[in-house]
Each structure stands twice: as C-alpha cells, then as structure tokens.
C-alpha cells in the first residue's frame, strides 16, 4: 500500500468516517457516486469495486457490462456538508475493465492519456476556470424562474442571500482543499461567478466536479436553487466558464517570452493557433447541449467568432494583459467553454488542439482589435473570421469529421458522444416550442 492509501485508511479511522463515496463521471460529465463502508476500502484500493456499467451513459459497450471503479487516493476528501461527526468522504475513481486495463470509455482516462501525451513533449498543462452560475428562488411548479436578486456586474448587493451564499460556498470549497481566487456578482440578476485557482488540468477537472456539487449543496442549505445551465434566462447573459490555459516546461511557463509581442512565446502563439484552428470541431464537447448555443449566440460577452485578441473581450481566445515581472502567469483564456461541459473531455480536447498547433507549427493569424460583434458579416468575411457552430447540429457535423477529436477521445467515446448528441438534437427538433405557438397558433 502506498503512502496515500495509508493516509486515507488512517484518516477514515481517525475521523470516524462512516461512508466513502466513490465518484466518477459519465461521458456527458454527470457525476456518479457509489457509497462504500470503510471496511470495503482496502479491497477497493486493491481490486476496485465492480459495478454494472451498462446502466451508465457511455461507460461501456453493451456487451461489456462489468466495470471496475478504483479510487484514486490522492483525491480523498471529507465532505463538509455531511457534518464533522460520523462523516462522509469521497474519492474520484478511475474506471477499469474487468481485466484491469484502463477503460477506453472513462473520460478521466481520456484526459490522463492526453496529459501523458503532453508530458511526453515535456509539458504540464494548467487550467484556471471562471465558473458562472445563477441562483434562483426555489422553483414553483410551472411558475417563472425568479432570480434571487437584481444586481449587476460586480455589484455589492447589501444583505442578500447571494452574499451569504458565496461566503458559505467558498468556505466549503476551501475546506475541501479547493482554492478560490475570486468571487463576485455577475452581470445577470442572481448570477454569480467564482474563479478557482489554477492547478494542473486533472486536478482542476476533479475540482470542477466537486464544485458543482458543493454549489448545489450550499444552495439547498440556504434555501435557494443553483443552476449551471448555460442560458437559463432568454434576456439575460448566459453562464460560461472562461478558462485560462497555460503550459509549463518544468518550472518555467512555456507561454512566456520576455520582449516578444504581448510577451507571448512561439509555443504560446502556436498553441493559440491550434486552439483557433480546431475550435469549431471541438465545440460539440466544449458546448455540449442544445442550450449551450443559445449562450454562444446570445450576444453580450459570448464569443461567437473564431479569432483572438489581446485583451479583446469579444474574441474567442483572449490574451490577458501581461503583468510585468510575472512571467509564470502568462496564459491564454478560452472563452467558449460553458460550465455544463464534461471538464475532462473539454480540457483534453483544448489541450490536444493546442498541442497540434505546436507539433504542426501552425501560423497564428493576426490579432483582432475590433469588437467582432460590431463588424458586419462582409467585414468579418474580409478579415477571414469564421463563426463557431451555430447550433448543436452544426457542431456535431463538424466533430464527426474531426480526426483530432476522434484520436483524442478514442473511438469508443467519440462514437458515443456523437450518438448521444444526435439523439439530443433529434429530441430537441421534435419539440413544438412556446415561441412557435405564440407566433403561429393564432395567426395561421
């Protein structure tokens, strides 16, 4: 048994933990959980816990129902909302096939594989997400959604639930070892943003899974209701997850080059070029729901066009203002991603796209200084600025033809995501929406 596992066993004993939840993520990014008793822990470490994977979205091929979840002891964490006494803890799991190979359909494994590819080239990949979400009054059956306040960007709204909410959520996150950088009220009513501190991509993805759970739990405690839906309110800004990305070579930020334009190294420029080049084909994963596209094309700060800029808040990729003397903070911000994505798959694809730019030596197009939304279609065409997919349907079609996505996800996950998304689109298209009824029912 290694040290981490010993630590887990000891902690479980010392803190009188009664349940250990084993967490894993299905291909769509939904958190799955199975609870085991402390007595099972040793065998869970040694052999994993068997379960029927066929019931879980995308986890298995139909004929291979048995799967094994093996907890990763480095992710052990006591869950604070279950109380200190006789508490509950959780660990993330790797999914294995019965013969002990990493499962090809485990999205955590997809990210691990891609990170290994990066480390073969000498890189470690760091991410830093800014998570937006809405807080609503508890929904009543059929009633409209009521945000908990009417604040705007950075507003200090006195004595509202939102305030308490953020404090409680951050306290809880910190107590779970997840560092929070920043939190504030966002532009929409009841909309909040919490920024996680940068960490390596696997940790960040694990943290995001935890984050969503924590936010939901705290909301329940406070008598409100939290949602990460990308666009819950038609006339208000959507919730995105702008994510800052950086590559390190050892201790050195590989994106930073003193004296270069925007202090951006060649590696960084090629990485951005890769991200831009492949951004359309990875959109079905970074923005995976029908609803995601209502945020992407809903105006405001949403990045709908494939271009980059230095501090340009309308561009898809933004290079934040460089702070002198902070070479290691060089990074690029990818603005399309939303909180509803499966973070493991999304990070894997963004990394793969960037790496492709580096290995193939893509040329970075010129930066865009204008507000892309203000340009006319003809101007954008003239500048060579293409749009991101307009709908999930468009995105699926682009992904279908993408070798990059297929190779990164592996044939199984690739196939599953496509099938699942096609179903979603078909289901959506079959709807008769209130919009249509209102417009047409009377007049036709």
């Amino acid at each position: 048994m290694d040290r981490q596992q010993e630590f887990v066993l000891r902690t479980v004993e010392e803190r009188d933990i009664r349940f250990i939840r084993l967490w894993f993520t299905d291909v769509l990014g939904m958190l799955k959980s199975v609870a085991i008793a402390p007595a099972e822990l040793e065998s869970a470490f040694a052999e994993g816990i068997g379960f029927d994977g066929s019931a879980i979205e995308g986890l298995t091929r139909v004929y291979e129902a048995d799967m094994v979840a093996r907890p990763d002891p480095t992710t052990f964490q006591v869950l604070p909302w279950r109380g200190d006494h006789q508490g509950t803890a959780r660990m993330f799991c790797d999914i294995l096939t019965p013969d002990g190979e990493p499962s090809l359909s485990d999205s955590r494994n997809v990210l691990k594989r891609t990170l290994t590819r990066a480390s073969d080239q000498g890189f470690t990949f760091y991410t830093h997400p800014e998570v937006e979400f809405y807080l609503f009054e508890p929904p009543t059956a059929g009633g409209p959604l009521v945000p908990i306040d009417h604040g705007g960007y950075f507003d200090h709204v006195a004595r509202t639930q939102g305030h308490d909410f953020r404090r409680a959520a951050i306290t809880m996150l910190e107590s779970m070892g997840i560092s929070v950088e920043f939190s504030h009220h966002e532009a929409g009513p009841g909309q909040n943003e919490i920024d996680l501190r940068y960490a390596d991509a696997l940790t960040t993805a694990d943290n995001l899974m935890t984050f969503r759970t924590v936010v939901k739990e705290v909301a329940l405690e406070q008598g409100v209701f939290a949602s990460f839906m990308p666009k819950p309110l038609a006339d208000q800004p959507g919730s995105g997850m702008h994510t800052h990305l950086s590559l390190f070579e050892g201790d050195r930020n590989a994106f930073h080059e003193p004296g270069a334009q925007y202090e951006l190294s060649k590696t960084a420029r090629q990485f951005i070029a890769g991200l831009l080049h492949h951004s359309a084909e990875i959109t079905a994963v970074t923005n995976q729901y029908v609803n995601s596209y209502k945020r992407l094309w809903g105006g405001a700060e949403a990045p709908s066009y494939i271009c980059w800029g230095h501090n340009n808040r309308s561009a898809l990729v933004r290079v934040p203002m460089y702070k002198p003397g902070k070479g290691n903070s060089s990074r690029v911000e990818y603005r399309a991603l939303d909180t509803a994505a499966n973070p493991y798959l999304a990070f894997a694809l963004m990394l793969a796209a960037g790496l492709k730019g580096i290995t193939e030596g893509y040329e970075l197009p010129d930066a865009t200084e204008d507000d892309v939304w203000e340009l006319t279609d003809a101007e954008r065409r003239a500048l060579g600025i293409k749009p991101l997919p307009q709908s999930l349907d468009d995105a699926i079609e682009l992904m279908e033809r993408s070798e990059l996505v297929a190779e990164t996800l592996g044939e199984h996950v690739f196939d599953f995501v496509l099938r699942n998304k096609r179903q979603e689109w078909a289901g959506y298209s079959a709807q008769v929406t209130p919009f249509e009824l209102k417009r047409l029912l009377q007049v036709l």
Partner: protein
Amino acid sequence: MVSTSRTATLGGRLTRLGFRDVARAIHLCTDKDFTAVVGAVAPDHPVLDALAESADPDLALLALVRLCEAACAEAGAGDPGAEERRTRLATLLTMRDAASQSDAVQVRSRLVSVLGASTALGDELVRHPELLDVVDDVTSGVGVDVRAVRGEMLHAVGADPDADVPVARDAAPATVDAVRRAYRRRLLRIAASDLTSREPLSLLPAVAAAIADLAAGALEAALAVARADVDDHGEGVRLAVLGMGKCGGRELNYVSDVDVIYVVEPRDGYDEDYAITVGTRLASSLARVCAGPSGEPALWPVDAALRPEGKNGPLVRTLSSHVSYYDRWAKTWEFQALLKARHVAGDRELGAAYVDAVTPLVWTAVERDNFVQDSQAMRRRVEDNVPAAEADRQLKLGKGGLRDVEFTVQLLQLVHGRSDPAIRSSNTLTALAALAAAGYVGREHAAQLAVCYRFLRSIEHRIQLVNLRRTHLMPTSEDDLRRLARSVGMRAEGAEGLLARWRTVRRDVRSLHEELFYRPLLPATAQLSAEEASLAPDAARARLAAIGYRDPTGAVRHIAALTDGVSRRAAIQRQLLPVMLGWFAEGSDPDGGLLAFRRLSDELGTTPWYLKLLRDSGSAAFRLAYLLSSSSYVADALGRSPESVTWLADDADLAPRPVARLLVEADAILTRADDPRQAVTLLRALRRRELARIACAELLGVCEPEDAAPGISDAADTVLVGGLRVAQHVVCDEQGHDLARPPAAMSIIAMGRLGGRELGYGSDADVLFVHDATDGADPSVAQTYALAVAQRVRQLLGATGEEPSLEVDADLRPEGRNGPLVRSFDSYAEYYGRWSSPWESQALLRARPVAGDPDLGRRFTALVDPLRYPQGGLDPATVREIRRIKARVEAERLPRGADPTRHLKLGRGAVTDVEWTVQLLQLEHAAAVPGLRTTGTLAGLRAARDAGLLDASDAETLEIAWQLASNLRDSVVLWSGRAGGATADVLPADRVALAGIARTLHYPPASGSDLEEDYLRAARRARTVMERVFYGEEV
C-alpha cells in the same frame, strides 16, 4: 655505430615480447627517472620479461615509467618512506634470479599485472605511491572475512566496529576522502589477486563476493559518517541498508551502481515521524558520502530506485510500511528484485527482520494474477531493450547476455522456490547449482550455463578495470581486444579467438535457457542420462503454468505420451519437445498447440520423414509450433493432411500454387478416376490442401494477406472446372447423350468475391450458369440437360462429405431464387436486354467466366459488357436508385443486434461500403476508362485513383479499411478455426479473442486493444470518404 646495433636489438627484443608500439617503448626505456631506478635497459633487462607477462606491455611500461618518476620526485622531497619505496621498486624491477625470491617475483608480477590491465589503478598508484605497500603485501584480497573488511572501512573513518551503532569521528571532507581512499586501497588488493590468478574464471565468484563485501563495508563507513553529521547521531532511529541486485546477490562488478533499499524503525521513546525524518537525512547523506563531490573520486552512485513506488516513493520506510506495500501494490518484477535483498549495512536485526518479512511474499509471487504475462513482458524487455548501435557489443543486455542468464535463473527460482527453500539463494551461481542439485535443471546444462556466466562476467570485469568505468560494451579497437584476451588467459587465441568464443557463449546461453527451462519437463521415463533432471509432477505443472499453459495437467499428459518409450520416435521427440514447449508458450493458445502437435505426431510419428524434418530443420519446427499454437484453422488442417508439414521447410512449397498448375492436377485426377464421387472427393481434397497451404503462408508471413485471396479463389476455380466436367459426364450418362456431343455447351460465370478473386477461407462461391444449345439440338432437351448439370455441380460440390464442401450459390441470377437455375445464352441476352435493373448491372461488374466452354464464356462477357460498362455512364435516376438500394441494404441486411461499427462485411466503413463506392465509379466511368473494367475491388480502386476519379488520399483510406476488414475476416477464421456462423463477420469484443486475432495479423503480443482501435478508426475514415464519394454528400 654501437648505439644503432644496440637499439635494433632492443627493438627486436621488445617486438618479440609483444610490445605494439616499439618506437615509443624504446623511447620510454631511456627515460631519465626510469633508468635512475632500473638502470640502463639492455635487451636482456629483467624488467622487460616481467612486463611481457602483463596483459598490455605498452600500457604497463608507460605506467611503470610514470611510477618511477613519481617515486623519484617523492624521494627527492626527502621523505624517508619514499626513499625506501624507491629502493624497493629498484630491487623488484632489477632482480634476476627468480627461483630464490619467489615472494618478490610474485610482487613484481602483481605490479605489472595491475599496471597492464588498468589505467585507472595505474593513475591511482602514481597519485599515491604509498599504495605500493598493497602490492608488496601478497595477502590475497579475495576470501577475506567480511567482518575484517567492515572493520577496516570503519577504522578508516575513526568509528568503532564493535559499537552497536558505529559513528565516525566527524563528517568533514577529509573523513569522506578517507572512506574513498580506504575503498580504493582494498579494491587494488582485490584487483591484484584477481589479475594474477591463473584461472580467473574459477576465481570470479570469490572476486565478485569480495567486491560486494567491500561495497558493504563502504556503505557501513558511509553510514557512520552520515551519523556523525547529525546532532544526536540519529540515535533514535535504527536504520538498515538492504543490498539489492548484484550487491544483494554478493556478486558485484568492479564498477556498478549499488542498489539499496532503506528500512528504518524508531527506537523506544521516539516516534515514527522522527525515524522517517532522520532516516531520510541519514540515507541522503550516506549517498553523498559515496558519490558526492569531494577531493577523491566518487565510489559509485547509490541507487535506491528499487524501493516501493520507485523514485516517487519516500526514500526510507518503516518495516510495516514496506510490508503493506508489497502485500498489495508490488508488481511481479519487484518480487523478482526482492529475491536479491540482503542486509549489507546498518542495523543487522532490522535488516534480518526485513528479509524475513518479504521472503514469504517473494516466494508466493508466482501465485499472483498476471504473473505469466508480467514475466513474459519482462523477458521481452530483457531481450529487446538494447540500443541498436550497441547490439553487437552488449555483454549485459540482449539475447544471450548476462541479464538473460540471471533472468532464467530467477524465473526458475520463483517458480520452484515456493515449495523448495533449498533453491532460494540470492547469488546467481549458487542458485544455479542449487537448482541442479535439487533436480530442477540438468546438471550438465547448469554447469555449462555457469561457465558461460563466469566467462561473461570475467570479460565484463576486465573491461571495467581499464578505466574503472561502468560499461558493459565490448571494446572495438584491436589493441583493447588484445589486452582483454590476454587478461583472461587467452593469450594464444588473441582478439579473434576471444570474439569467437564470446559469440559461442551468447549462442549457448540461448540454447541453455531452453534446455534448463523446458527439458526437465520431460517425464522421468524419458530421461536420456543421469545428468538430466526430470521434474516431479507438481513442479512440472508449476513450471508449465508459469509460462502460460492453462491446463498444465493436460500438458504433462501430452508430454509424457510424446516422449515415453524406447522407440527412435520417442528419442527424437525428447530432443525436439523441450524447445517446442517454449515456442508453444509464445503463441496465443499453448495448450491447443501442444495438443495439435501430439495428434500430428501420433499420426505421423512412424513416417520416416516427419521427425527427421523437424529435427534437422530448425525453422520447420519453429513454424509448426507457431502455427499450431496461433491458429485453430491450421491446426485442424494440418491434422487432416499431416503431409503438409513438409512445406514448412521450404518457402517455395508455401507459395500459393499458380492456377495453371492446379488445373493440370485436376485434369489428372479426372482422367484417373472412374467413380464420379471419388473424383469429386479428390478435387475437394485438393482445395482443402491449397487453403491450408495459403493459411500457413499467410500466418508465417511468407505471403501477404493480399496474395491469399487470389490463391483461395484459384482453388475454388479449379474445383468448379473439375466439378462441371464430372457433372457433364454423369448427366450425359444418365440422359443417354454422347459425351463427345452433348446437347448444350455450358459455362460457369463467377460472381461476387469469387469473380473478383477475393475469396476468404469461409466464403461461398457465387456463380451464374449459362448454356447454349449445340447446333441442331432441341432447345428443350438442351435446357433439361443443362439444368441437370447445374444441379449436379451444386450437389457434388456442396454435399457433406469427408472433404470440405464448396457451397455453390446462384442467387445472383436473373429473377434471383425465383428464376430458373440455368438460362440459355439467348435467354440471358433477352433478359438483360429488357429487364435488367441497376443492381444487376452492378453485380455483373464481378462476372468472370471460370469453367466450361471458353467460347461461351467470352460471348457471355461480351453480352454483359455494355450493361456493366454503359456508354456515357449512368443517368441521375439510376445513380439515385443505386444509392437508395445501398441505404436500404444498410438498414436491413445487418443482423439483428449487430453493432454496425464492428460488422466487418456490412458495417460502417466495412467491406461493402468500399465495394459499392468502387462499383459506382466503375458503372459511371468504365466505358471511358478501360482500367476500370476489372472484377477486382482494389484493381478498380487503383484505376479510379489513376484516372483522377478519386483523390489519392481517399483511395488510400478506402484501401486500408477494405484490406484490414478483409484480413480480419480471414483472421477470425484462422484463429477460431470456424468458418461461417453468426460471429464470423464480426470483430470480436472478447479480449482473449482479440489478442489471438491480433497475433495472427503479426501484432506484438497483448495488442488486442490496438487492433480494435486501428480497425474502428480505419472504418470510420472509410465511411466518411464513402459518404462523400458514394452518396455524393457535400461537405
């Protein structure tokens, strides 16, 4: 002129004595300090004879001259000891009368041997002339009590060897240097004994043990220094250093990393955290004493990478933490490494406790899951892990290297040590002797392997001694090789002889591995001589299980059956079987392979050629073992026609036979036979034989999978030709026609994959029957006759019988199953002229006359050409219709529940997708592009590419997918031995099946997932191309 003649004589003398660079040697002989010590060097000066004894007289002379310079310089400084040394040197080098002073002769011999074998030790002597004492004192450096060595090393740092926890006087740089000087001093003594030994190979184990003991002493001294560096001397922590690898086996090299593991425990009154913290400090400081920068050169890196979790794990652990790690997490190789663990320094009781604790784990490792796979993977790493540039020079890695010997011994220990403590030694040679003594391996073979090992190690030692560098590479320069040969007592053989012997040894190590491992599996009744071992049944089963046999009991039975008895046959089997057992174990189904081999041998054992062939042609035996254990299809086929084994000796016999030759053979069969059934049985046997031949060739890589399909088709063609002739004969008889003037000429037109010469092992033959009434014959008589012939062909070839049938399928005929089985030429002409639908034109793309009247065949081709190669291509409505049919086929033909991504024929991007794409291009463009008028899919695909109808990369994508899907369909049959059935066209999901199929396609072992991923990717890409090209979907 006096001086000239003197020089010439000295030169001649030096040449005779074996100096290489005589001019330089002459120059050195006149060196001022050298002559000051030894006097003028005349040709008969005794120093020259002494030098000639050394491995490299040139090197020895140079070092001696430098030593004299150093001695003179030192004496000039007025040190009385130095003056004494100079005098002693002079006495040694100038004494003549050998007999009266044997001690002094021995000293002189030690001096020149060291100087002639090691530049590094020569430099050390020049730097520290006081080391001459070591040379002067002829006490042997090997066979010294380990406690004495430990005491010597501890004294050097001012520590008390009798103390419970020895602590050095301080940790100052001077003390660190003292450890290193003491180490080198003793190393010089060991080298002097080693280099003057008459039989270096015999002395080798003792030398290696002495070096290991010295390393242990150095570690002990380094630990004492490390303790001196800690305020309270780390008194609260017990620390034991376990030697691993060669250090643990007490068989260390002159220069090698020293592998260790550290165990710590707190003493009473201290807690575990303290023990870990201080223990870590001691361990890192110990490593620094041995290898950190200092005034004296470093000893060797102390490598703790074998510890739990490797380089990422904590440097030191408590005993219980070690044990719980090994209990749960350790991998097979870690146990193999632990086999060597031995206490070498620090707390003795703790070290012993560690060894006691891990011993049971080591000896039950063989019971762990994956032991077989792990050990096979380890073996491959041993064999393959050699940089290409070094492959010819490696002593340690690669096949036949030192690691190979060690691996063989350790694997045997792990397999049998579970039940037998007598063979658990951590020392390679001791373990080997114990294995032989306990009867697990043959004595003779064990002794031979021991000699090989000693030889390789001696060479390695001599190479390392030169510069005291860690290297395992054979030198390349002539001078180096010559020195090496002389230093291991191969003076007469020289460089050439040395290399020749080395090559032999490497080969021997390989074959001895087989002998040691597999020969003792033969039962006692099969023993050839008392020198050979035979395992008890339990031990034999354990060994078979360890190399991958899933049913060891059955295997033991088969081995006994094959080798029992006094017949010549059993005697040859005893020669053959051991190595074949190893080859079966490398295949995907060792048990199946052995069983098939037994069947074959039962069948053929008494034939004169069978065993002789296997014994005399190594490649035939290997190929047979590989085929039998990788392919059930071939195992079955060879069982049916054992004589096919002869092919394995010669690639020419394995090449698919040209169709012309097959037709001649068929003709001979028909001419000979009087009974139609008999004739058909012979034809079917011919086809079965050709299929077996092609399967063997394909699996052995003699022919490419692409060449297999035409061969399989040729065999079917031949059977159809013969079958038609027999049927005509029979029907003429029955209906009273004159065989020379039958009422109708007949022809068989191949369709589908047969038409394209793309048949697989399990495919049916798709055909059309056509006849044409002979002049003057009644059309209805002709039709009756032709129908009877066609029915008879299908019945003769398709009926079950002793030889495999060929299903003849005529469903592609006009009106399908509702239409008449045979039509006349005119009827075809009328039908195709009036009714033909697009799918029929498409099917006719594959039409190829194979049997019967050649003229009728040609006329038929001419008839259908305008249909299949329509002038002006296809109109849009027809294209639409073909696409619609394809779309419906996709929806309807796929078996219920089949996963479209895995169906090799009808699935996404599989065979059918590619073929329809090519066929559509053919229908559209063949009239204009003659190259497209072909029945072959790949030929059509390449023609379309060459004509610019398909872009090169699309063509490649389609070709790769089609070829891989076709190969997989064949491989499924080859691996499983089952043709047809619901699963035949599906890529299996089962891991074992996938791995087996991957082996038949020449993937490395355990690559089932790679194969799966490769196919899914190839098919997905092909589908994308197909959707664009065939369905015309815009992107």
